[in-house]
């Protein structure tokens, strides 16, 4: 690769790539703005009857009303907030626990590494929903927190496994030995070399996990294991609309669109992030 090729190739590659990032950022940004807005304002009181039962979409009720006569659009707006809170909470918990365990396993002796790896495999094989039910059963009942913790723990196993394998690959490189020889401590090796090198891949994975966490939250709520009323969650809206899906399809379609748009937005964002976070990819394109 010559220097000129690098210079010529990079701006175009960056421009093309940045479109996915931009679209993703706009969609996710919209959800964030709506989610924040619900803290102070919704078109109608989401808990009150503001119209007839199962009204079709109109200028007053943008997404119609549900079977109790509540404004569906207001409920979906609140759903954005719930989805984002659960997603953020889950990747913070999953990321912190996962990266710690993963790095520990990468540095650990062979025996401890094997034990941790086996533990992670068991945790990954454990269905998220079952885990959530266990956590709900062992706490005071379903709440926003049980959903976050359940999804976060499920996430952490996947993050840990990825961190472990990425860190191991970096640790086998000559530049780690070179750095050790020039007198860097193990902690220095982690902060100077390992974390920056695994971060791009890890960040993209965390972003994708965010999308999965949003879907997992909807699934939990659908089964009644997520956020309890009055906080509307898309999963619960879908579940409530199930009985009337033929007479009032909008009740299922509208929260479905909200859910899908957020997940697509996050995935586009993740794709764009990869190219921003990794300088070798940035200029190789």
């Amino acid at each position: 690769m010559t220097d000129t090729a690098t210079v010529i190739a990079s701006p175009e590659g960056r421009k093309r790539r940045s479109w996915t990032f931009m679209i993703g950022a706009v969609i996710v940004g919209l959800h964030i703005v709506i989610g924040l807005l619900t803290l102070i304002w919704t078109p109608f009181d989401p808990a009150a009857m503001s119209g007839g039962r199962l009204e079709a979409a109109s200028l007053t009720h943008l997404a119609g009303t549900d079977r109790l006569g509540r404004d569906l659009f207001s409920l979906i707006m609140i759903g954005s907030r719930i989805a984002l809170i659960v997603g953020t909470g889950a990747i913070i918990i999953g990321g912190l626990i996962g990266m710690t365990i993963g790095l520990l396993a990468a540095f650990a002796s062979k025996t401890l590494d094997d034990v941790l790896a086996a533990g992670l495999d068991i945790l990954i094989a454990f269905p998220t929903l079952l885990l959530a039910m266990l956590i709900v059963a062992s706490s005071d009942g379903a709440s926003l927190w049980t959903a976050i913790v359940a999804i976060g723990i499920a996430n952490s196993a996947i993050v840990a496994r990825l961190t472990r394998i990425l860190a191991k690959r970096v640790l086998s490189m000559d530049y780690i030995t070179a750095s050790r020889i020039s007198g860097t401590s193990w902690l220095g090796v982690v902060t100077i070399h390992v974390l920056p090198n695994i971060w791009p891949t890890l960040l993209v994975n965390l972003a994708l996990q965010f999308g999965l966490a949003v879907i997992a939250e909807a699934s939990l709520s659908y089964l009644g294991l997520g956020t309890p009323p009055p906080n509307a969650s898309w999963g619960r809206l879908l579940q409530e609309a199930q009985g009337t899906v033929y007479s009032a399809p909008l009740g299922a379609i509208a929260p479905g669109i909200a859910l899908v748009s957020l997940v697509i937005g996050i995935n586009l964002l993740a794709d764009g992030l990869r190219d921003i976070a990794d300088p070798t990819r940035r200029s190789r394109r």
């Binding site: 690769m1 062979k110 030995t177 020889i181 020039s182 100077i192 920056p196 090198n197 300088p279 070798t280």
Partner: protein, 269 residues
């Protein structure tokens, strides 16, 4: 002359299988020693054992005294101050020897900073930057300013190896271990790197442990050679003696092979 590295009866084992057995040699301060042998003969393991960085799962026994300190059995923490001051290593593959996500200037700068902290020198940004540029200039990198701001993938293989050498030099080691530093490079670059290494070692009065399987390369770089086969030393002596009158059958075959190669080139010409 004082002895810098004293290896005595070094044994390296993996799961009961001997990889290096009863290896002994010494390097005096300022001396240049070549370690020759085919792939898998234990050359690189010997080098890693010398600085206490053997991969996990390998056990070393015997005695390795580097700069008056026993390396074998020492705690990792105690070896940290020894590394860099006593010995630094240049690796075979220049691409993996540099962190792909750190600019050249920063990588060399980190080594400079650690050295400065150790010696109590100035650690402010400007003086480190100045020393980094000086080092890059010493390893004959063109336009040090541009190179120091470049990512490793933006420069050529030979330039990467020069940057790696600059990193090793930044530690100001007494012993420079070069583990097949030219194997991954093309022949012209090889010659340049060898000339550079020779010049730097002489200028800075460093000792050199040069590891290679390439006889002509070693012959030009060192004064004394140790020939290894299957983890054992088969012959040792001054370069001229060993290459002119090889005693051991293995050394004879190595020299013959190198000669045959030269002759083949002669005929082709």
């Amino acid at each position: 002359m004082t002895t810098l590295l004293d290896i005595r009866e070094l044994n390296i084992e993996a799961n009961g299988k001997k990889l290096v057995s009863d290896l002994s040699f010494t390097i005096a301060a300022g001396e240049r020693l070549g370690l020759i042998g085919e792939s898998g003969s234990g050359k690189s393991l010997t080098a890693l054992a010398a600085i206490g960085l053997l991969p996990e799962g390998l056990q070393a026994s015997g005695s390795v005294i580097l700069d008056n300190r026993q390396v074998i059995g020492a705690r990792d923490r105690d070896l940290v101050p020894l590394r860099g001051t006593a010995a630094a290593v240049i690796f075979q593959e220049p691409l993996t020897a540099l962190d792909p996500l750190m600019k050249i200037g920063q990588q060399v700068g980190n080594a400079v900073k650690r050295r400065a902290k150790r010696d109590g020198g100035p650690t402010d940004k400007a003086s480190i930057q100045r020393e980094v540029l000086a080092l890059l200039d010493q390893v004959a990198l063109p336009d040090p300013y541009r190179i120091s701001a470049a990512w490793p993938h933006e420069i050529s293989g030979g330039q990467r190896q020069r940057a790696a050498i600059a990193m090793a030099l930044a530690c100001k080691p007494k012993l420079l271990i070069a583990d097949e530093p030219t194997t991954a490079l093309d022949v012209t670059t090889q010659a340049e790197i060898l000339a550079l290494l020779g010049k730097l070692v002489r200028e800075r009065d460093m000792a050199l442990l040069f590891i290679s399987h390439d006889l002509p390369v070693v012959a030009g770089a060192v004064e004394r050679v140790v020939v290894m086969q299957h983890g054992r030393v088969v012959e040792t002596g001054a370069v001229s003696t060993v290459f002119d009158q090889p005693e051991h059958a293995y050394t004879q075959s190595l020299v013959a092979a190198a000669r045959a190669f030269d002759d083949a080139l002669e005929i082709a010409r």
